[in-house]
Subunit: 350 residues, 2 copies
DNA sequence: TCACAAAATCGAAACGTTTTCATTTGTAGG
DNA sequence: CCTACAAATGAAAACGTTTCGATTTTGTGA
């Protein structure tokens, strides 16, 4: 059932059939009708394999993410998918959770015509020497969404919020509430995104009454378990923080869990502030104060930028910055007046 | 940079180069070495487009899901991805959240060689007349994961837990705890998965002391908002349930949120039981009692079954059933002794 | 009706593989 | 040293489309 059969039935040449499919405005109404009828009749569907082969384009964009199922990426993926559909592309996904390929493997996929471009939403194998993004690679279309990657990929064009400023502002907000001892649960080591947020936190703490304290910053590893551990560590500090800023909402959830579990209350004893505004942020107990990113916009712009690159335009290497916003819910409050000793925990009901 | 260039440099024919790539055991060591060196030298990478075209296979499996970012599908996708990688397939995703194609569109994708097979994890456009799965379609490789689809797709082979039995057992568990008024928050109308769970609930309630009550079953629409609405409805009942069984964990989260918000406590006033054991189930407050599905196994078996179909084997149409398991945490408890009036809510602190 | 330009159609090449069949090379046995 | 056979390699076809240049048809104005 190929274009040939259709041509024969319609009594035209195969090039005419092809034209009917691709530029019907160039074919006479009568022939068009004949061809369409032949197509109906045979149930012909163009062979995408052949077409893509001939055109030298896969129509595929590879999206690298850590794992399907992480709520944060929902909006980003919706954005990506939306413009992909609009522009006739399909999305190929690869999870780094299950395997750990090198960046290089992805770049190769576009030279071997498995995809036309790559969007990176998660660092391929962290700390791999072959992850360096050489100038030679500059010609393969690739864009980062959110800059959730290691240093070596720093120069790849990206679309993201200003994580440093956002984290700074969020921390400022806690300081303004009156908090002086503010903990920070960092994400996975070596992720640009995470490091920028940590920097923003440091920036803000510099000007805070008690200044910066090394021990207030603990690595949460971007995992629930890690964040729980980190929280326990923070809670056991002599100078226990009255507020904890988590590098993302998932860790904030874990942190809240652990805080409550130790008999403390959020936000009465400890305020918690997240980052991302995932779909569960508003129905946690208490509803989470957090930094919102325009995820869908990030997805859309990432995809658009990639398409530009695919079409051969120069997209530069400067990140595209989109706006964030702090959304205040109930997990943050002013610290309690008497909260200067570390022993108030004992006074609480279990 | 094609196979031709490599052939020229290596001083062999293109068929030999092809053989070096695909069946090196059939080529003499010396030529193999020469060819490999030529490949190195040119940086040649086989053109996947051409290869797939020639072979008539895309190497792609289309996975239809509602939306990336829903935690439940994390494990399923990991399973799918795992065997896909093993078998040399890539995963194409399509979200039904952003567009609503018909099942037919997906089937067409395999005839038009955009993918070799389809895995359905979410109903394409619910209640569409063209979603019927005709016997004529029986030849296109397609498998359901979890049967999260509308009636019309009932006869497509699937891999899933026995939702009806699982829901029955879960409800039994609540009954055994001493609950008599048990609410059920159903998922999206028309989803087989959800309906089976509802059936399981009814099955169990038949034998319960107070029997079945229409008003105890409310539609939660598979959404957070829907589940909140449903919960409010249940709580406002004259005979307010002392336990609520939610068709999935996400709705359980929403339900718990709403219960607490109305001043009641979980599980003291109302027990809540979920389904799925998503990654946040264990760190909710309280940690959620729920039904676990072996998601990764489901994904693996779904994919394997699809591959069988792709390779032309008859995979039948009977569902493959995998084992579920109830995991008891802290969101369920025996009802309070005095809990027979509806007015205890007033006695609680706001 | 004719000439001519424009529009429509056709024929054939090309895309980069894989694969079949034929040919060459190598090897062992007599 | 020749034959027979196996192993290795080569030549060419084929996959289904798009597209280029050539050719035919159509339409227009004189």
């Amino acid at each position: 059932m190929s274009i040939k059969d259709v041509a024969k039935i319609a009594g035209v040449s195969i090039s005419t059939v092809s034209r009917c499919l691709n530029s019907p405005e160039n074919v006479k109404g009568k022939t068009l009708a004949a061809v369409q009828s032949a197509i109906e009749q045979t149930g012909y569907a163009p062979n995408a394999l052949a077409r893509n082969f001939r055109r030298g384009k896969t129509g595929l964009v590879m999206v690298v993410l850590q794992s399907v199922g992480l709520p944060f990426w929902e909006g980003v993926m919706r954005g990506i998918n939306g413009v992909a559909r609009e522009e006739g592309y399909s999305i190929l996904i690869r999870e780094t959770a299950s395997s750990q390929p090198e960046l290089d493997d992805y770049l190769k996929m576009v030279v071997s015509k498995e995809a036309d471009g790559v969007i990176i939403l998660a660092s391929p194998s962290p700390f791999s020497s072959t992850n360096a993004y050489s100038t030679q690679d500059r010609r393969t279309p690739i864009v980062l969404g959110c800059e959730n990657v290691t240093d070596e990929l720093a120069h790849i064009p990206s679309v993201r919020v200003d994580n440093r400023r956002a984290a700074n502002e969020a921390t400022q907000y806690l300081i303004q509430l009156g908090h002086e001892r503010i903990g920070f649960i960092a994400g996975s080591r070596g992720s640009l995104l995470t490091r920028d947020r940590e920097r923003g936190y440091w920036d803000a703490m510099k000007a805070s009454p008690r200044g910066q304290q090394r021990e207030w910053v603990v690595n949460g590893d971007q995992t629930i378990e890690g964040a729980r551990r980190a929280t326990r560590k923070l809670l056991s500090l002599a100078d226990r923080p009255t507020a904890i800023f988590c590098a993302n909402d998932e860790m904030a959830m874990a942190s809240i869990y652990e805080i409550k579990r130790s008999g403390l209350s959020v936000p009465d004893d400890v305020s918690v502030l997240g980052f991302d505004d995932i779909r569960y942020a508003a129905i946690m107990d208490p509803p989470l104060t957090t930094v919102v990113q325009p995820t869908e916009e990030i997805g859309e712009r990432t995809m658009r930028r990639l398409l530009n690159a695919i079409e051969g335009r120069d997209i530069g290497e400067a990140p595209e910055i989109v706006e964030h916003r702090l959304i205040v819910r109930e997990s943050t409050a002013a610290p309690r007046a008497q909260d200067t000793t570390r022993d108030d925990r004992r006074e609480l009901p279990a």
